[in-house]
Amino acid sequence: MAKYIAQILVLGTQVIGRAFARALRQEFAASQEAARRGGGGEKGASRAAANARTGITVEEAQQILNIDKLDQEQVNKNFEYLFNANDKSKGGSFYLQSKVVRAKERLDQELQSRKQETDP
């Protein structure tokens, strides 16, 4: 009786252990991928970290706000328009408005970090 319980416990632990190891490996690979996408080096790492933290990449933020060249004025202009267009009082979608907000946040962050590089 006890022998069977012991066997089940051991098997269970092995299964969990293997799944955990696999999850760790996947997580490592994913973070390597994200770091590579960030463009390598210290700046790339900080960009990948910001992407992970905010849950949105610079590319996606640019697409949401329809920006091809990162310019603060253009960001603000497009943001104003899209934010007001999707206002709930006008029957707009709050979810879309949120994405517009998060996109602007991300681009502001990116512009800020770029500014910090050029004039420290």
């Binding site: 905010t54 849950g55 267009a85 979608s93």
Partner: protein, 97 residues
């Protein structure tokens, strides 16, 4: 033990600086976080159109028309948002029939 009173002050300062660090007034607020999901779900689609996930086909169509009018790319809307709105409508309509 002796460090505790100093620590509590440090904690409150850190919390305050953290909330300021989140720059604009948007970060700690009610807005949904993050970007779009990598693969659109029914839940996201219903949120995009601002309707219930169990809304009827006519409601989906009506919501799509309304939201699209606000975000039309020809009138200065963003192409990505327009694409997401269309994708949301397609997903909800296909899921019904």
């Amino acid at each position: 033990m002796r460090a505790v009173p100093g620590m509590s002050q440090k904690m409150s300062e850190t919390v305050k600086s953290l909330s300021q660090l989140d720059s604009s007034s948007f970060a700690n607020s009610k807005y949904y976080k993050g970007g779009f999901e990598p693969k659109m779900t029914r839940r996201e689609a219903s949120l995009i159109l601002g309707i219930s996930p169990t809304a009827s086909k006519t409601k989906v169509k009506e919501a799509h028309k309304r939201i699209m009018a606000l975000n039309h790319p020809d009138r200065g809307g963003s192409p990505l948002l327009a694409a997401k709105i269309n994708e949301a409508k397609d997903l909800l309509e296909s899921g019904k029939s």
